[in-house]
Symmetry: C2
Subunit: 188 residues, 2 copies
DNA sequence: ACCTGAACACCGTTCAAGT
DNA sequence: ACCTGAACACCGTTCAAGT
């Protein structure tokens, strides 16, 4: 039977979780599918496109029902969902960050944050910046957290404390946005 | 004459700025110095160590005299210095972020932010998280800004607006930290 | 449409041997 | 101490040819 794009994504995701991002190569993916490397290019245009699809799959699998009603609780909810989705796969945070940086996928989190902040009453010219500020914090924190966790699980005496607390860092940013929301509404 | 470690760093920095991070390879650096690739390993232990030294050099060259006296002005000053230092070299933000993530250098910015926040009156247990929150924002924002600027200079009709404003995003974070400082001092 | 086989132009790193 | 030469074990991508 002929392989599908979904087969490539599934194999790449398995290699990612088992061996890390550095071991997700086109040649390895092809080998797992008993194909020549060149055959992959019938299903994806490039390795970057494949990684984009893998990142989207990581986020899709981490999707959860949302319960928050206020904008600030919604932002915190989306941030936690994103973090947990990335932590669920080895090198997940590095993968998603890379894909976002190169503009090849993983656009949902920014859209969700933008939607939540659109309901905040924040001046609409500030919404894109606020959404990106939250996104950058979540990505940066989670890369650091995951590196730390993976380093701990492979060796070390075990479980020294994380260098930063996610909820606290997120609180700084949300509090800063909230202050600007209040400022805007009193100026009206 | 025999080459020094500083020669490798200088060549790598030149390749970085001229061709981008992807073109900084051990073989290219060796070629520029008329050396065999294996000869580089007499001066650095690995490519990662060389990139760490290059990142430190980028930051060293971007160092400026500091004028701010209050903790919040100092944080903003350090943040702008870091951003400008990275923007001064092609792929500078990606390089510094990678080096920080892998723990191979570029430790000065976090130290500077930690020092500034140590004078804020913020509960000392929150200082590491606050410093990292600022650092993650600066790195994430600047990677995005530099990608956008480099994409614009290579092609496009030119200069569409940046997706986020640095000062505004930094303001959200600093305001959030300031709110916690105020909270701590009233609780005392 | 899907795949093979072969090639092109590369990588980082190790190690015996030379001076 | 510093470097060469050769090797090892890889990369992403293209393209003519097969079925």
């Amino acid at each position: 039977m002929s392989r599908t794009r979904e087969d490539l994504v599934a194999v790449a995701l398995r290699l990612l979780d088992a061996h890390g991002l550095a071991d997700v190569s086109m040649r390895r993916v092809a080998g797992e599918l008993d194909l020549q490397p060149s055959a992959l290019y019938h299903h994806v245009a490039s390795k970057q496109e494949l990684l984009g699809a893998v990142a989207d799959e990581v986020l899709r699998r981490g999707a959860r029902p949302r319960g928050a009603v206020t904008w600030d609780e919604r932002v915190v909810e989306v941030a936690h969902e994103l973090r947990d989705a990335m932590l669920a796969y080895r090198d997940g945070a590095e993968l998603v960050s890379t894909v976002i940086a190169f503009g090849l996928g993983a656009t949902q989190p920014l859209e969700d944050l933008t939607a939540a902040l659109g309901d905040s009453g924040l001046d609409e010219s500030l919404v894109p910046t606020a959404a990106r500020t939250v996104l950058h914090l979540v990505l940066g924190h989670t890369i650091e957290e995951q590196t730390h966790l993976q380093a701990g699980s492979a060796g070390a005496i075990d479980a020294d404390p994380l260098p930063a607390d996610f909820g606290t860092g997120l609180g700084f940013v949300v509090d800063g946005i909230r202050a600007r929301v209040a400022e805007g509404s009193t100026a009206m």
